[in-house]
């Protein structure tokens, strides 16, 4: 077998049914979020119906304790969770990549200090730190997002630092340096394309994780506040009475499908990447 059959070429992610299902679901949810006002039969806060109606033709997912249409709230919920998750991952990734790149690039005490900082954040279970931040700044979704960014950048920093460190000693970087390329240029030209892949995979997986963590914080009452139509908060509301299963079940399923979709895609992408880098992206 020649080395020409690189693992990447051999296992294109788009040949995997799971990735396709995941991608389809992501597209679907993005569309739902974009078109929410068109799709939802009611507004997310409209209290138009008797409360706690069972699912019926009128209200496919029933109504909640304030007589709001659960389907509409679930649809509008995507407008809360998805953009925030994307935003948050983008922030965390940018911050983490910057820190990781700086640490890997400068090495020495800069690296030491930044990585100890990352260790520090790692030593806190994310949700506890997020809780502390949310408690400190007040329970709002904005603060929850901030909290999650605070806890999630170190993953990227470590990943990027590791990639930079290993790539820094790569022969193609040495070759480029010998041609007179400055180290900043090697970083941007030679390393960036190699780092982008793993970071993208991590980000894909992280969107799912972000949705989970945000909804978890909202569930605890530290994220989105009522009456915002947020899935985690809706599950919490639904949990008040198990007999009204529809109030909590559907938002829970929404979280599940969104997270699952991103995990399907992320996982397949990770598999498709070179296994050595794949290991560095947790999973």
């Amino acid at each position: 077998m020649t080395r020409k059959d690189s693992p990447r070429a051999a296992r294109s992610p788009w040949r995997q049914p799971l990735a396709l299902v995941g991608a389809a679901f992501i597209v679907l949810w993005v569309l739902v979020a974009l078109l929410a006002p068109l799709l939802a039969p009611q507004g997310p806060l409209d209290q138009l119906s008797p409360k706690l109606l069972e699912p019926s033709a009128q209200h496919l997912f029933g109504t909640d304790e304030l007589g709001r249409d659960v389907l509409s709230r679930v649809i509008y919920g995507s407008r809360v969770s998805l953009p925030l998750a994307f935003l948050l991952v983008a922030f965390a990734a940018v911050l983490g990549c910057a820190v990781g790149a700086v640490a890997g690039f400068f090495g020495g005490w800069v690296d030491g200090a930044l990585m100890r900082l990352a260790d520090l954040v790692f030593a806190f279970p994310g949700i506890i730190l997020a809780m502390a931040v949310a408690a400190a700044l007040g329970p709002q979704l904005r603060n929850a997002v901030l909290a999650v960014v605070v806890v999630s950048w170190p993953s990227y920093a470590r990943l990027v630092r590791g990639l930079v460190l290993s790539a820094r000693n790569a022969e193609y970087v040495a070759a480029s340096r010998l041609l007179g390329s400055s180290s900043v240029r090697t970083m941007l030209v030679d390393l960036r394309p190699n780092i982008a892949g793993p970071v993208l995979v991590m980000a894909a997986l992280d969107v799912g994780n972000a949705v989970l963590l945000l909804s978890g914080l909202s569930f605890l009452g530290l994220g989105a506040q009522p009456p915002t139509a947020e899935w985690g908060a809706m599950v919490a509301a639904g949990a008040a009475n198990f007999d009204r299963w529809w109030v909590g079940l559907f938002p829970g399923l929404c979280i599940l499908t969104v997270v699952l979709a991103f995990n399907f895609v992320g996982d397949t992408l990770r598999d498709a990447l070179d296994p050595r880098t794949a290991r560095a992206i947790r999973g």
Binding site: L18, A92, R116, D119, L120, F122, A123, F124, P125, G126, I127, I128, M131, A132, V133, A134, A135, A136, L137, G138, V151, S152, P154, S155, R158, G162, S166, L205, D206, G208, N209, A210, L212, L213, S215, G216, F219, L220, L222, G232, V235, A236, A239, F242, G248, G252, I255, L256, V259, L260, N263, F264, D267, P275, R276, A278, R279, I281, R282, G283
Partner: protein, 361 residues
């Protein structure tokens, strides 16, 4: 997103852990301890700064609506918890006390934080240990099955199962499981650590199962163990998925090695090849992830303990956070950091057990 933590130095597992010649163990332990101490100081500092950022007032959070209107009561409260001191003095005092094992008084439980922690930490650790053992047994076994059957149907099914596991909101699973397994079908006992009305075993370790066994209270042991099952199952949903994915990846990587082919070429039964030649090196990565998974269990506990009325660290942390209970938050932070450090140390020691190269060179 915590689950997302990339294990320390997980890249390339054994290979990346450089040999440390020359008194490797002492060198290693020394470095670790210094790092641990610094980490703890850092953690307290971060926690402290965070709590100082709070716009709210611990007095307001912990005094009644009426009491807060009474300046004398507020002054007494502030004096009692040292809040009337300048912030740096508060911090230094705190650190000084911590060094003497005094974590301060909790504003929400009115008890020494150390006493609170002694009660709540074992509860959560017991739960997390139970869950991690469960996850390791199930996750590793299924991960191996998936890897051995790579790209065939068992692998595909297990992939969906494991990804499903890591995609489920823990709190939601907890609610559903509690409703179905406890309420609907009565298969498992419900919330709390013991049956209602049952007294905890005499305190020795704080692990009810262990304490009950030590005291020979078998009914308590059975009750305590029974109450562990449901919450730990729920917690394990995530970690099983996580460990399964990692075991699969790690086993696949090992399966590609020459030495596995060499073992097969020796005509060894497949069982021996997998257990002895594949799983052992794979364990290096697996225990790294298990360490991270343990951390994620602590997080999961925050979401689950409420639902299962589990009087653990998670509930305590939550209550401390919402009550702006500074000593409580700091205590939790230090404990969590200590657990993190211990886990990492344990993981490193396990590397040495698994991989002789680390011991020898």
């Amino acid at each position: 997103m915590n689950s997302a933590k990339q294990p320390r130095g997980s890249t390339g597992a054994g290979r990346r852990r450089p040999a440390r010649p020359g008194g490797p163990l002492l060198w290693f332990l020394g470095r670790r301890l210094v790092a641990a101490a610094l980490l703890c100081v850092g953690i307290t500092l971060v926690a402290f700064v965070l709590t100082q950022l709070v716009p709210g007032d611990p007095a307001a959070a912990n005094l009644g609506q009426r009491a807060i209107g009474d300046p004398e009561v507020v002054a007494a409260f502030r004096a009692k918890y040292g809040l009337d001191q300048p912030v740096p003095v508060q911090y230094l005092t705190y650190i000084g006390n911590v060094l003497q094992g005094n974590f301060g008084l909790s504003q929400q439980s009115h008890r020494p934080v150390a006493q609170d922690l002694a009660e709540y930490v074992p509860a959560t650790i017991e739960l997390a240990l139970f869950a991690i053992v469960l996850s390791l047994l199930v996750g590793v076994a299924l991960g191996v099955v998936a890897a051995v059957n790579r790209d065939r149907w068992p692998d595909q099914v297990l992939r969906v199962v494991s990804l499903g596991g890591v995609s489920m909101p823990t709190f939601w699973v907890a609610l559903v499981a509690f409703y179905l397994l406890f309420f609907k079908f009565g298969l498992l006992p419900g919330g709390g650590r013991l049956d209602p009305g049952m007294s905890p075993p005499p305190y020795a370790t704080g692990f009810y199962t262990l304490d009950a066994a030590l005291a020979g209270q078998w009914d308590v042991l059975s009750s305590a163990a029974g109450h562990l099952v449901l919450p730990s199952l729920v917690l394990a949903v995530y970690t099983v998925g996580m460990l399964m994915r990692f075991t699969r990846a790690s086993v696949l990587e090992i399966l590609g090695n020459d030495y596995v082919r060499a073992a097969r070429a020796k005509g060894l039964p497949e069982r021996v090849v997998i257990l002895r030649h594949v799983l052992r090196p794979a364990m290096v990565a697996i225990i790294t992830v298990a360490g991270v998974a343990f951390g994620s269990l602590l997080s999961g506990a925050v979401l689950v303990e409420n639902i299962f009325s589990w009087p653990g660290l998670g509930q305590y942390a939550y209550r401390s956070a919402v009550n702006l209970d500074l000593p409580g938050i700091m205590g939790v932070s230090i404990v969590v950091a200590a657990v993190y450090i211990l886990i990492n140390l344990l993981v490193d020691l396990l590397y040495g057990v698994i991989d002789p190269r680390i011991r020898l060179t």
